[in-house]
């Protein structure tokens, strides 16, 4: 099994296309971080204003407010994180998961490897493991690169950042920005990016499942992405105020949607991992594990019985 995992890893990381996703994420970080660096003073003033927001002149804001952790945090700014995770990272995961089986099927290489002795379930498990590693590595790379760029541009320091609560739209914030000390900020952001990896693994599992019964990688990736977007739309409708009665159905199903639980990486951003957050996190992680297990089992079942016609 380990040999198969090694082979799949070797295939994945020797393909140039694999690095396109990493390059896109790096470009995204630079696209955000470099302008911040160019307008450092303005950002600095804006952060000081954020800090003393609503406090008037009775408070003194001092010290360095723009530091390394700002970049990885700003990459998770609401609603940008929705676009990054639910669309960009999900797209990369869907494409990788889609090509893992459907891609090899259409290229005919699945036929070649399935004439070798390893059992089909082993091949599927190896692909799942490697795709999970890939999905997690996307999120980890994204976070690490953001940290590296952040520290390279702004040096060490604490995090000052005020996010827009997801359910507040563009309304005013009730409080100013919090100050999170460097160690706690690194820990919080590290947790968020790792949990983002878990979310992406779930998206990849869906794509791998679809891939197990489709014949073309784009079909598999497109279908998986379509399901995720649909789920996101339903979840958004389900988060509408209770007064809108005709959306009651969406409110009912929202807690069970894959995309609802894919947002678990937001939990440490809001509160850190305190007791309440741990409960919420455990629940979402359980749901995601359930989804992953279901996609894995479904994919395996189909893959084991599938006729290789191409």
């Amino acid at each position: 099994m380990l040999a198969l995992v090694r082979i799949e890893l070797s295939k994945l990381y020797r393909r140039r296309g694999t690095y396109v996703s990493f390059a896109c994420l790096a470009a995204l970080v630079l696209l955000v971080a470099v302008p911040i660096s160019c307008y450092k003073e303005k950002v600095d003033h804006s952060l000081r204003d954020e800090l003393s927001s609503g406090m008037g002149d009775d408070w003194v804001v001092g010290g360095k407010v723009l530091a390394g952790p700002f970049v990885p945090r700003v990459m998770l700014f609401w609603p940008m994180r929705k676009l990054v995770v639910n669309i960009l990272l999900a797209l990369f995961a869907a494409m990788a998961g889609g090509s893992a089986i459907a891609g090899e099927y259409s290229a005919g290489t699945l036929r070649t490897i399935l004439t070798r002795p390893p059992a089909r379930w082993k091949v599927f498990v190896a692909k799942f493991v490697v795709m999970a590693i890939y999905a997690a590595s996307l999120a980890i790379f994204f976070g690490l690169f953001a940290f590296i760029v952040g520290y390279a541009l702004f040096g060490r320091g604490a995090l000052v950042f005020a996010d827009m609560p997801a359910d507040m739209g563009s309304g005013p914030r009730p409080m100013g920005a919090p100050i999170i000390q460097e160690g706690a900020a690194v820990q919080m952001l590290g947790q968020a990016y790792l949990l983002m990896g878990v979310s992406i693994i779930a998206a990849m599992s869906l794509a791998l499942f679809v891939s197990s019964f489709t014949s073309h990688p784009l079909t598999a990736a497109g279908a998986a992405l379509g399901i995720l977007l649909l789920s996101t739309i339903v979840g958004t409708l389900g988060s509408a105020p209770k007064e809108i009665e005709f959306l009651a159905f969406f409110r009912t199903i929202r807690p069970y949607l894959l995309t609802t639980h894919m947002n678990l990486y937001e939990i440490p951003l809001a509160r850190g991992l305190d007791q309440a957050a741990r409960v919420a996190l455990t629940s979402s992680a359980g749901w995601l594990a359930g989804y992953c297990a279901a996609f894995f089992a479904g994919g395996l079942l189909v893959f084991r019985r599938r006729d290789i016609l191409c």
Partner: protein, 228 residues
């Protein structure tokens, strides 16, 4: 995010009062005692000092993980009447009154109803209990000060307060001093934070403190130093 305003308000209230410390001779009236405490550092035009602010939330408090325990090291620059600058390699946000001598104390002394409610002698030195009630016809909390009868420094203060959850509790603040360039300047201000500040079922005690060292008084700071 939840902790910061409470933390700030607490320190603002308690530390604004440290300046309200008199210096006087024998057996003065309550108003005189308070005035001496307030005038204690009126000769300080500007200063710089190194400082460390600490905040530790009580066990069980509903505070985000990263803000449960915070320590800020910084250098503070002050110039009368009200200019404060904080230099640090991390963001620090604190109430201006913490560093501006006397402003709040003056207000209290001018507008409050001051009365001597007790006296105790420790090591031959009287410690006065002065109560400051809100001005006639206004609502507000009564504050109780312990003032050193020889140095005219405020040693301790108690004041009732209420949290966002409408629970009432009492803040207890203590000062320690050092003599620098002829002035008694605070080297440590500490306050215990009752759990009720953070929620109805929080029974632990939190604490906040400000430690100030390396005082340099009347160094001739220019206004441009404080320009943003």
């Amino acid at each position: 995010m939840l902790a910061r305003p409470r933390y700030g308000v607490t320190l603002a209230t308690l530390l604004a009062i440290w300046a309200a410390v008199p210096a006087l001779g024998a057996e003065p009236s309550a108003s005189q005692i308070l005035k001496r405490a307030l005038d204690l550092n009126s000769g300080i035009v500007d200063y710089t000092a190194r400082a460390r602010a600490e905040f530790h939330a009580p066990e069980g408090a509903d505070v985000p993980e990263g803000q449960r325990s915070m320590v800020f090291d910084f250098r503070v620059l002050f110039k009368r009447p009200n200019q404060v600058k904080i230099e640090a390699n991390q963001p620090v946000m604190l109430p201006r009154q913490l560093f501006a001598f006397g402003n709040l104390g003056t207000t209290i002394a001018r507008e409050g109803r001051v009365s001597l409610v007790g006296k105790r002698v420790v090591d031959g030195v009287p410690i006065y209990n002065v109560q400051v009630a809100p001005p006639e016809g206004t609502e507000g909390a009564k504050m109780l000060f312990w003032i050193h009868g020889a140095k005219w420094t405020v040693l301790r203060m108690k004041m009732p307060a209420s949290g966002g959850n409408q629970q009432s509790f009492e803040l207890d603040i203590a000062w320690t001093y050092a003599r620098v360039q002829g002035y008694y300047v605070p080297t440590r201000i500490s306050v215990s934070l009752p759990g009720m500040m953070f929620g109805p079922n929080v029974w632990g005690q939190g604490r906040a403190s400000l430690t100030m060292t390396d005082w340099r008084i009347n160094v001739g700071l220019k206004d441009s130093v404080f320009a943003r």
